[in-house]
């Protein structure tokens, strides 16, 4: 058990070490892709084990909970690890077509896999302080990736990113300290019990709000999202794809974990705040996107608006709503990473991402246009793609829970998303290139073309599959949400001997 749950962590970590040692030869890239594939296999094994047993628990170093560090995979964690591995593999392949020798020499592949380690660790850990450590690992790796190119724009974006994220981790650390002072424990399952039993519920609520702000910054929740559109459009495309797919979702995951397992004593207050934050996140994100005129900036603001849907699912706190949140997480990671990869190819062909300066891609690269259309329509929620089911479940859950404003906002935001996607379509693909260029996919060398288009096609196919056969995925999401609403089962799985 313990190795099944730790292997998805060990593999990217070992891959990072090996690809750094081989960074000067072509082996570095090969090691990176092999490692990502191996992580996907390990994640699949973890998923199978968790699907069968409900929980996969490992006590690191043989120290039993609540004293040692526990790795726990419930269905939500297992799903997130699988999706992380899928995105990791797709981006690792894409990176071979994009990352130049200079970035490889500086350790691109190593940083990328350290980032994957951090993300996977955050999904798997059952210990609050360990979660903080994984956040730091992610932050260090992502800062490295952001500034690897060394251009002025990248440094500018990187500084904004790091400054705001440091504030968040600082707050996270302080809240963890307070919580440890109150309960004397850091193990999440143990905390879930002792927080509920605490007589100082006022302080618990204060700590809960600190965690909400700390994770809210990570998740890019209104009004804490400003770092995201300021930095995501600057680095290499494969870097922004993996950021867009995974990083904010770690924040959402941490919110879901904390506010279903630990802080559920004052749902009326905390989840009400989350509800309004979610609604405002959706609206400000989509309006921000409408005002932008750059391929990647539009996509960045859409990350913010989509985060709102997931947090809305958490805030409603009903089984159906959490099902929607889990489904939305999975759908969004695939689609958003894919859109950023498409923007990378568009940049290569049309020599830019500023929508007023590019165009003509429909005429010259119809295959790319087709591959853009699938994730773009899925993001906007067109049937029969994955985004339709994700939105449908969240909207249905909000109307059932009586949150009519939130449900209506979700529908309006969906319509405005179509507006943004149409704008990209009309500007980048439909209209002629302003400089009269006619770049064709054929102009890119065959190897590069395959490495860039294969992951895009793979992720697009996944979107279509989820859209056409949603039943097993919804089933998985609803089992995950049932687990989330039953903290006692989690506690029993982590500490089978009962409370310490």
């Amino acid at each position: 058990m313990s190795w099944i749950v730790s292997l998805p962590l060990i593999i990217p970590f070992a891959t990072a070490v090996l690809s750094f040692l081989w960074r000067r030869s072509h082996l570095g890239g090969l090691v990176s892709v092999t490692g990502a594939a191996a992580q996907l296999v390990a994640a699949g094994v973890l998923m199978a084990s968790t699907w069968q047993n409900g929980y996969t628990v490992g006590q690191m170093g043989g120290w039993d909970a609540p004293f040692g560090i526990t790795l726990v995979a419930d269905l939500l964690s297992a799903v997130m690890v699988v999706i992380t591995a899928i995105t990791g593999l797709a981006v690792a392949v894409y990176a071979l077509s994009e990352i130049d020798a200079r970035r490889e020499e500086l350790g691109y592949h190593a940083l990328f896999h350290v980032l994957l380690t951090g993300v996977t660790g955050a999904f798997l850990t059952g210990d609050l302080f360990n979660l903080y450590v994984w956040f730091e690992v992610m932050l260090i790796a992502s800062f490295g990736l952001l500034v690897l190119g060394g251009t002025k724009a990248e440094i500018d974006g990187g500084v904004k990113y790091v400054a705001l994220n440091l504030v968040s981790t600082m707050l996270f650390l302080m809240a963890t300290g307070l919580l440890y002072g109150l309960t004397g424990s850091l193990n999440m399952a143990d905390l879930a019990q002792s927080v509920r039993a605490s007589d100082n519920q006022g302080l618990v609520t204060v700590i809960a709000m600190m965690f909400m702000v700390a994770f809210g910054v990570k998740a890019a929740l209104f009004p804490l999202f400003f770092w995201l559109p300021a930095s995501y459009h600057t680095p290499a495309f494969s870097v922004s794809a993996v950021f867009a797919g995974l990083l904010t979702k770690v924040g959402v995951y941490a919110l879901i974990r904390a506010f279903t397992l630990i802080f559920v004593s004052d749902v009326a207050l905390t989840h009400q705040i989350l509800l309004w934050a979610a609604v405002l996140t959706m609206i400000t994100g989509v309006l921000g996107a409408a005002s932008q005129n750059d391929f990647r900036k539009i996509l960045s603001f859409h990350i913010v608006s989509q985060i709102g849907y997931m947090v809305l699912g958490l805030a409603l706190f009903t089984p159906l709503a959490l099902t929607g949140a889990v489904f939305y997480l999975v759908h969004h990671i695939i689609v958003k990473a894919n859109l950023f990869l498409v923007s990378g190819v568009a940049h290569k062909l049309a020599k830019g991402t500023d929508l007023s300066r590019i165009g003509g891609l429909y005429k010259t690269a119809p295959l790319l246009a087709f591959l853009f259309l699938i994730p773009a329509f899925s993001l906007a929620g067109f049937p029969p793609l994955s985004g339709f089911w994700a939105k449908y479940v969240v909207v249905k859950a909000s109307f059932e829970a009586g949150a009519f404003v939130a449900g209506a906002a979700a529908l309006v935001v969906g319509a405005l998303t179509i507006f943004s996607m149409t704008k990209i379509w009309a500007e980048a693909f439909w209209k002629d290139h302003p400089d009269g260029q006619e770049p064709r996919l054929r102009d890119i060398a065959l190897r590069e073309r395959l490495l860039a288009l294969a992951p895009i096609a793979g992720l697009a196919a996944l979107t279509v599959v989820i859209g056409l056969f949603p039943a097993p995925f919804l089933d998985l999401a609803s089992r995950a949400s049932a687990q989330l609403l039953d903290p006692q089962a989690y506690i029993d799985a982590v500490m089978p001997g009962g409370p310490s």
């Binding site: 990072a16 750094f20 040692l21 690191m60 043989g62 190593a110």
Partner: protein, 133 residues
């Protein structure tokens, strides 16, 4: 810096601090010390050397790229964690390897990995800062 005194003294510093860093590394098993502080002290020796003779000279004396030292250290630490699999225990479980009167724990291997990771990382930073000026 062009100082003959410092340049001559720095050679002794490197040896002394490296020996002291290994002492701190081994002492860490039961007393204050360990890989992290050992790596810092070891790096301090080379930092003095770099200040006295320039970072290029320090790089030549070190022979191996500090980034390689750092990542190898991380790899060694990972191997120490993985070694628990040989004994059928959970990841990172400390185990004793006993050969006659010699007792070696996998924990010290982890600490040696930390030593190299810190040593390499600090020197990477310092050399980079020195060369940027």
């Amino acid at each position: 810096m062009n100082s003959l005194l410092l340049s001559v003294a720095s050679r002794f510093f490197v040896t002394l601090l490296l020996m002291f860093s290994v002492f701190m590394l081994l002492r860490g098993h039961n007393l204050p010390g360990g890989g992290f502080i050992g790596g810092l002290i070891g790096a301090a020796g080379f930092i003095v050397y770099a200040i006295a003779n320039g970072s290029q000279a320090a790089r030549r004396t070190l022979r191996i790229d500090p980034r390689v030292i750092a990542s190898s250290g991380v790899g060694i630490a990972l191997l120490a964690g993985l070694s628990a699999a040989l004994f059928g225990k959970a990841f990172f479980t400390g185990t004793w390897l006993i050969a006659g009167s010699i007792k070696l724990s996998t924990v010290i291997i982890f600490d040696i990995g930390v030593y190299f990771a810190v040593f390499g990382a600090i020197l990477t930073l310092v050399f980079a800062l020195e060369e940027a000026v």
